[in-house]
Symmetry: C2
Subunit: 196 residues, 2 copies
């Protein structure tokens, strides 16, 4: 792994744990075992490191979800929707590094870099939404999901769960069986609420 890649990798961890302001260039340099000024040979400034970190995280995040959807293509809409949730929350790398970072900065974007990173996040959202709405509409065509419901209402609640489970998982430090139970509780009410 090149120094540049190492810097991104370690900065993702630091930014997620401490936040943007509280992550100093010195700390990043220590993690990749160089001195602070050497960072500037790889990136123009701290904002550039952050931008590259966001870019990598959103790409990996979207890739993971789209791949999971692909793999579930032969299953019912119910199973696909459940799998996407389940896989997202039982994959440790996704949960511990990408997810932590993604949600911290989606929710509370540092002022100085907001303009730069908002387009990156918006793009990732659009990719996910267009993949999910297809599955929901297929489910309605199959009569798995109540066709009387607007597909956008179903998508809205699903995305609501998808996005915010992350918040709860982190907040309550849910792992293993507890996480599984939590996911199933939330899912069961959702599915009762949309099934045909």
């Amino acid at each position: 792994m090149s120094k540049k890649e190492q810097i991104i990798k370690e900065s993702i961890r630091l930014f997620s744990e401490y936040g943007y302001e509280a992550t100093s260039m010195t700390k990043i340099a220590e993690k990749v075992d160089i001195k602070k000024p050497s960072l500037y040979a790889h990136f123009k400034n701290k904002e550039a490191i952050f931008y590259n970190a966001v870019e990598q995280v959103t790409e990996e995040y979207v890739d993971f979800i789209l791949t999971t959807i692909q793999k579930s293509r032969h299953l019912s809409s119910k199973e696909t929707l459940y799998n996407v949730l389940h896989q997202s929350y039982t994959n440790e790398y996704l949960l511990d590094f990408l997810g932590e970072f993604f949600y911290r900065f989606v929710l509370f974007t540092p002022y100085e870099v907001a303009d730069q990173i908002k387009p990156l996040i918006k793009k990732s959202e659009e990719q996910l939404e267009s993949a999910l709405i297809k599955i929901i509409e297929e489910g309605q065509a199959n009569r798995e999901i109540d066709p009387a419901l607007s597909s956008h209402v179903v998508l809205r609640h699903y995305l609501f769960i998808f996005n915010n489970l992350d918040v709860d998982v982190r907040y309550y430090s849910l792992r293993g069986i507890e996480l599984e139970q939590y996911l199933n509780d939330i899912w069961s009410v959702f599915w009762r609420g949309v099934k045909n």
Copy 2:
């Protein structure tokens, strides 16, 4: 309003907008029209200001919810649960100042002050949960809510909505009719999912 109260009031706004680290003592001092060192006549340090801010926000937040529940006592469980959500998200003060602050620091507590403020937040959660579980169990006794569901599963989904709507409202900048629509979409799937 005393200077001390002014400091808390303005610091709540600043902390919510910029976060803990990015809110400096100088900015707080400017907002209350004194010089930075004068702040130290009122509070020991920045952490103390933050602690007092959290304390005030959690108290006002819980008070508001418990009062709303009280006022809805003569209504059905369905109406009470809906009202609590609706009132919380159509009250501007709650949404713009208390909510913004509360969720920012519930989700991403600054390292240095985490140990101090976590008990404050935990207490507020417990107060809300014990009030809500009563309403849900009443609803099951009345046959409004499916008694076959565990009341804790219902509470979990309700709290999930209650807590995380805030995240979405802020993220999508939902206001007025859009917010109303969003709330109703989420509510409709939830109620379909728990009703008898």
